[in-house]
């Protein structure tokens, strides 16, 4: 029976490692990427091209998207800051937790969390067997828990990105989600805002100064598109 438990633990750990290897393989350089627009490097390069062409708002959007997959990329961060300077807009909604929590590619961190779960769980199972390697198993369990914790922190810090959007054109934030509503403040092009609610073609946004108002959704492009594939093209068409 003890052997059975040991075998199960090892099997689960191997499955976890196998999944991680498969994921890592998916992240390794490939000759033909499946969706080049969601490569961080491709997004970053496209943002550079747009910035050089003077399309600063679109560049900010693509830098933001590049930073979703490569949040620690110093080049993307610096060019994004530069693009915002050019557009005359303040930094997007960002806090210390988000700044430090987004320290690595979220997809890689996801798999690290899965591997940590498998490692910690496997070690916990194997600890039931009286073995001289108990210390090593305890260390493995702690390491697995740390991996899971890091992954959870990264997930929590990445979560706000889901509701971020970039203003592609200057827009007026109104008091209500109707045409001709009284304007509360202006949302300059290229500013990154947080979308709090949606109503009939209008988004309730909060800007970096904490002000809230309704903006026509046509003026905003979400950092993370709702459907994969054609959003990049549609937003590009909108700005052009």
């Amino acid at each position: 029976m003890r052997r059975g438990g040991f075998v199960v633990g090892v099997a689960i750990a191997l499955v976890g490692l196998g999944v991680c290897c498969a994921a890592a393989r998916a992240q390794t350089p490939a000759e033909t990427p499946r969706a080049a627009e969601y490569s961080p490097a491709h997004l970053y390069n496209q943002a550079n091209a747009d910035a050089r062409a003077g399309k600063v708002a679109l560049a900010v959007l693509e830098y933001e998207r590049a930073r979703v997959l490569a949040p620690a990329d110093p080049d993307a961060r610096e060019n994004l800051r530069h693009a915002r300077e050019l557009a005359g807009v303040p930094a997007g909604p960002d806090d210390w937790f988000e700044r430090y929590g987004r320290f690595a590619n979220p997809n890689a961190m996801y798999w690290i969390g899965i591997a940590g779960l498998a490692l910690g769980g496997g070690c916990l199972l194997m600890l039931r067997r009286r073995t001289p390697t108990r210390g090593a198993l305890l260390a493995g369990m702690i390491l697995g828990a740390a991996m899971v914790g890091a992954s959870l922190v990264n997930a929590a810090a990445t979560f706000p990105v889901l509701s971020e959007a970039v203003a592609l054109e200057q827009a007026a934030a109104g008091v209500s989600p109707v045409e001709g509503a009284d304007a509360l403040f202006a949302v300059p092009a290229a500013s990154t805002v947080r979308v709090l609610d949606r109503h009939q073609g209008f988004d309730l946004i909060r800007d970096s100064q904490g002000r809230e108002g309704w903006v026509s959704a046509a003026n905003l492009a979400p950092v993370i598109p709702s459907s994969a594939g054609n959003d990049s093209v549609s937003s590009r068409a909108a700005i052009r």
Binding site: M1, R2, G4, G5, V8, G9, I12, G16, A26, Q27, P29, A30, P33, A35, A36, E37, Y38, S39, P40, A41, H42, Y44, N45, N48, A51, V68, L69, D75, H82, E85, L86, G88, V89, P90, P106, Y110, G113, I114, L117, A118, G121, L124, L125, R128, N154, A155, T158, F159, L162, E169, A171, G180, D182, A183, L184, F185, A186, P188, V223, A228
Partner: protein, 617 residues
Amino acid sequence: MSILKSVKSFAIGTFIAVISCMAVAGIALGDGTTALQSIEPSTITLGGSAQLTITAIGSEAPAITPPMVPGLEFLAVGQSQQVEIINGVASSKTTVTYQVTPQQAGVFTIPSALPGGEPAVLTVNRGNGPAPPGGAGQSAQPQASSSLPAASTRQGASGAAFVRLRLAKHDLYVGEMIPVDIQVGARDGMVASLNGPPMLNGDAFTLNKLPENPSRTEEIIDGKPFIVFTWHTALVAVKPGTLSLTVDTPLTVRVQSAVRPGAGFFSGSGFEDLLNDPAFQNFFGRSSQRDVTVSSAPETFTVLPLPAEGRPADFSGAVGKFAVSTDLSQDKAGVGDPITLRTHVSGEGDFARVDAPVLHDGDGWKAYTPTSKFTAADEIGYRGEKTFEQPLVSTRPGERAVPETDFSWFDPATRRYEQAHTPPLTVAIAPAPAGSSLASMPPAASPGAAAPTGNGQAPAWRPDHPDRGAASSLTPHYFQPEFVALPPLLLVALSTAWLWIRQGERSAKTARSALAAPPSIESLANQMDGYAAAGDTESFFDTGRAALRRVLATKWGLAPTDVTAEEVISRLGSDSEISRAFLLADEATYSRLKLSAPDFQQWKRIVLRNVDDRVPT
């Protein structure tokens, strides 16, 4: 009947004569009457009360009505009259005492209740501090009359009071501010107190904060005297449409025991008005007090929405007529030194909706959050100047230009949006001292450069990256349904494995316990007797060997399966009974050994004796 009419006419005539005499005497003695007014104590705290004493000394007793001051409540607590006749000349001294209870802190000037008297001043503190300056004491001083057109007056509370609005216009835009006068008229002697400021009815308009010092005037309406309190303020419409507006004012009126028309001794005689006169009734103490709310006549407004056409993108909601200018706190500074950009927005309108045309970081400038200050040019805050002060720090030396700022607003007069552009301002920024972290900053690009950078050339974007792996979606795996399911599945698998292992361990433990349990001698004997009776030698010896194994395993500290014939021979020798029993058991298994009944019994006794020492040999 005719006698009754004659008596009635006589009585009326007599009364008219008396009253006429009193009135003539009052007029005649008007200049000769001395009025004294004093308040004790003259300084109180909010929640306390003071006593106002009004004394009239003259040949006749004048009618004394309680004064009316917003924020003060007067309650008559005593009245005395003393008449002296010296050398045939009558002299009267009338004293009325009121308890004065303040409803708010301030310095109140109580006007004289009689002509020629001096006003009394009452200071009301908040309790732990002095009275606020400019309190209601100013209310007695008439203020500059408004230029707003007069409105219709609708009296309420049985003609004791009215509330009316004076407005410049009735067609306006959402967010447009218009001056308004709110007037509350109180008939002298019929209103005891104002119990609060006038309040708007409904949510379609907002009102600027009402001043604590309404102006006070006197007005004759329909031949009746009113004290009119006027609040000069401003009104803002907050939603479009055809809207109606009324203003309510809570007050306390004196309810008089009016003579019913057509009844009584004085009916139809023209004396009813005289008897219902508040001065008359107050004099004779025939009134009680009642709280009422008086509303103004409804005013209808047409409020238009701000047009969407031509609305500038930077429009922040300002409606009115404005002018914008900027200046800098200094024209010379060093790198890292703060300078202040002042943006002045002046004009008329709702300055609460005027937002700062803010500069942001960039172009070699570090900008900080601006502060604002409003300086009103009139008492209602309709005209004035709002100044925004934004600290800036230049991060580069040179002849620097502060970027232009734009400000837009909607002008209701021209019915279109207006925009103002401030001129660029220049400031000479000296390099930072050597050794400073800012000293290495290169000179700034020429003013107006679109994107100055470290070298003053075009923006230096960081280089492109080599393309690497891609993801099928920008949504991180954490938030994709197919990936979200994986961690719970893994947890379920781990939990299942845990339970399975635990269950297996429990089963093994149970089996070990069963294996190691000492056999029952009786059951063992019965079992072996059964096999012996059946002539089943193999099962007979198997049962006996298993029982011996358990005993020996326990004794030797081995697993029962490890107690083999070889192990027994090596430990006990081949001549021992147990060794022979093990060998016979093997023989019975492989060679179909047949035993006689006595042999069965003998081997049974051997087995039982070695299993349990208590078994007799």
